[in-house]
């Protein structure tokens, strides 16, 4: 059956005929990911909408900016930094929260929606393996979503900075303090690092679990995603009067592991203090999480193979 791919092309014409039959393995993956973006426009529309609303609020708040800057100049540098950097940190924090919410809803629908609307029969009529499909649906929240969020956040903070600059210049104030403390060029690499490590790798088992539920549930994937976790926590509490499972989940959610606590710390502390990739990469929590995510995804692949439309 593989005669085409094994045969040596003997003439340019023949190789032309054969060429389309041997397709690079990455192509189905590339098109599957694009497909996800076509279907789930919320991946970029939701963060854009949140960013727009936030920017609108921020524009109004710039009325007080000259006064705020005058007040800040009297403070010590540490307090000054906090005051000036705060809106930018709130902005990125808000975008991260949005990303998380979008990722959760995306995953719960990813393998459930295609069975509900029967389009799984169309996808399965094409030469794309279940592994490719499930991986494309895992790559979306783990890689694509953080990158989209990063891009939107950068543009948003850039607009914030430019608007503030214009307002300050308009009222005859210096912008050096603002530019020094907003320190966007230092925080952007940090933000990208955080999004890729925490929202991508650290949250991978969460997305894996949601994808598994989405592949399995015949109805109400949202409930199925949450109730078993509550049940396990409840049983553990009643049976052993401990709450290790709950602690573990909470730790996963708020980001344990080295460099993982950016989210809790981001609003009050300078994110650069937590830039510890070495520590993060050797933390067992990361690797255990990735192994669990891989197991969930493997189960989701098996389920997708045998599941029928609902």
């Amino acid at each position: 059956m593989n005669a085409e791919s094994n045969a040596m092309p003997q003439s340019p014409l023949e190789s032309q005929v054969i060429a389309p039959a041997v397709m690079p393995a990455a192509r189905p993956m590339y098109w599957s990911v694009r497909r996800e973006l076509w279907e789930n426009r919320s991946i970029y529309i939701a963060p854009l909408a949140v960013a727009a609303v936030f920017l609108f609020g921020f524009l109004i708040s710039t009325i007080h900016l000259p006064g705020k800057m005058r007040a800040a100049s009297a403070l010590d540098p540490m307090r000054q930094h906090e005051l000036i950097a705060q809106p930018y940190l709130i902005a990125s924090g808000l975008m991260m929260l949005t990303t998380l919410v979008v990722g959760v809803f995306y995953c719960l629908d990813a393998l459930y929606g295609e069975r509900r609307d029967r389009s799984i029969l169309f996808w399965k009529s094409l030469p794309v393996s279940d592994l490719t499909t499930v991986l494309s649906k895992a790559i979306t929240p783990v890689v694509i979503l953080p990158l989209v969020t990063f891009a939107i956040t950068v543009v948003m903070q850039w607009i914030m900075l430019l608007v503030s600059t214009a307002v300050l210049l308009g009222s005859g104030l210096s912008v050096t303090t603002l530019w020094a403390h907003a320190s966007l060029f230092q925080t952007w690499p940090m933000l990208l690092y955080h999004l890729l490590t925490v929202h991508g790798l650290w949250y991978a088992p969460i997305y894996g679990w949601l994808l598994l539920v989405s592949a399995w549930a015949r109805r109400a994937p949202f409930l199925w995603a949450g109730l078993p976790l509550l049940a396990i926590g409840g049983v553990e509490k009643i049976a052993f009067n401990t709450s290790h499972f709950g602690t573990m989940l909470a730790n996963r959610m708020i980001g344990g592991g080295g460099g993982g606590d950016f989210m809790t710390g981001s609003l009050s502390m300078d994110p650069l203090m937590h830039f510890t990739p070495g520590e993060f990469l050797i933390s067992p929590g990361l690797w255990i999480g990735l192994a669990v995510a891989a197991a969930f995804l493997a189960a989701a692949v098996r389920l997708r193979r045998s599941q029928e439309p609902i």
Binding site: M1, A21, P28, R118, F122, S125, P127, E308
Partner: protein, 291 residues
């Protein structure tokens, strides 16, 4: 080489047996009609052939095991399932892009050519198209794939007669050639009768009838029996007897035509009549076929 070969194919959903030992062989270049009442196992059989459902028994499609090799198999197999399954959010041009992106044997220019004959716009979403247009779109995608086997499961369900006719006409004129094999499962027997080269009836998970159309034409004869000859005709053991406008119509298998012509007018039975006769003999559950 047989395109599809199954031996002892079984499938049960819990206690419900959908396929109970199906044996079938479909040669390359045939157009097979798979006909059966609702719940007879048509869709289950097709799903097994397409690698959509696990099964017991032996099954070989184009030299592959469909269950373990679905993605490779789908390079050579196309299918259109019972209802429109194109995702509603996709636009026509996205559908073209995607299939062109993932399918090594898709000829985009050909698909565009088919679409040019319709009123479908590239920018339309599937949800904005009528049911007939969605089928046209799906057919355009499928016909532009250079596949060896095309599987259709009630492809024209819910379409009006114009689209149904057009569907089979384009399939025959623009798609079918001697190297391709087509398997159609349907209720609308009469519309596809002239298209088929082979016909199979399936009932309660078993193949109960499996003939080529040449065999059907040479073996089976329907006689519109003259009233005075009815007793003589019945003595020849017809498979089936029905009354139409006061005349008895008897269906015979393997009876000498010369002998029958003395009893009344002879004609070749339609697939639908044959289906009723065969299913009637299988405990009178013939309602499943649309007439």
């Amino acid at each position: 080489m047989a395109c599809i070969e199954a031996r002892g194919l079984r499938k049960a959903y819990g206690t419900t047996v959908a396929l109970s030992g199906v044996d079938l062989r479909v040669e390359e270049g045939r157009i097979l009609g798979l006909i059966g009442p609702n719940g007879a196992g048509k869709t289950t059989a097709l799903n097994a052939i397409l690698g959509l459902t696990p099964y017991q028994g032996e099954l070989n499609v184009l030299g592959r095991d469909p269950w373990t090799e679905r993605d490779q198999l789908m390079r050579d197999v196309c299918f259109i399932a019972d209802v429109a399954v194109l995702p509603r959010w996709i636009t026509v041009s996205q559908a073209l892009d995607y299939v062109a992106g993932v399918h090594p044997r898709f000829d985009r220019a050909k698909a565009e050519g088919f679409l040019a004959k319709t009123t479908i716009r590239r920018s339309s979403k599937v949800r904005e198209l009528s049911k007939g247009m969605v089928t046209q779109l799906h057919l355009a995608l499928v016909m532009a794939i250079d596949a060896k086997l095309l599987v259709l499961d009630e492809p024209t369900l819910g379409l009006d007669i114009l689209y149904r006719k057009q569907f089979y006409d384009s399939l025959l004129n623009d798609y079918f050639d001697r190297n391709r094999t087509i398997v159609v499962a349907t209720h609308q027997v009469e519309e596809i009768q002239h298209v088929l080269t082979d016909v199979m009836f399936i009932d309660r998970g078993r193949i109960v009838f499996d003939r080529s159309m040449e065999e059907v034409e040479s073996r089976y004869v329907e006689v519109v029996v003259r009233p005075e000859q009815v007793a003589a005709a019945r003595a020849l053991k017809p498979m089936h007897e029905r009354q139409v406008l006061g005349r008895s119509i008897l269906l015979f298998d393997h009876v000498d035509r010369h002998q029958l012509s003395a009893l009344g007018d002879l004609r070749t039975p339609s697939i639908a009549d044959l289906f009723v006769a065969v299913m009637g003999n299988q405990a009178g559950r013939a309602q499943g076929v649309a007439r």
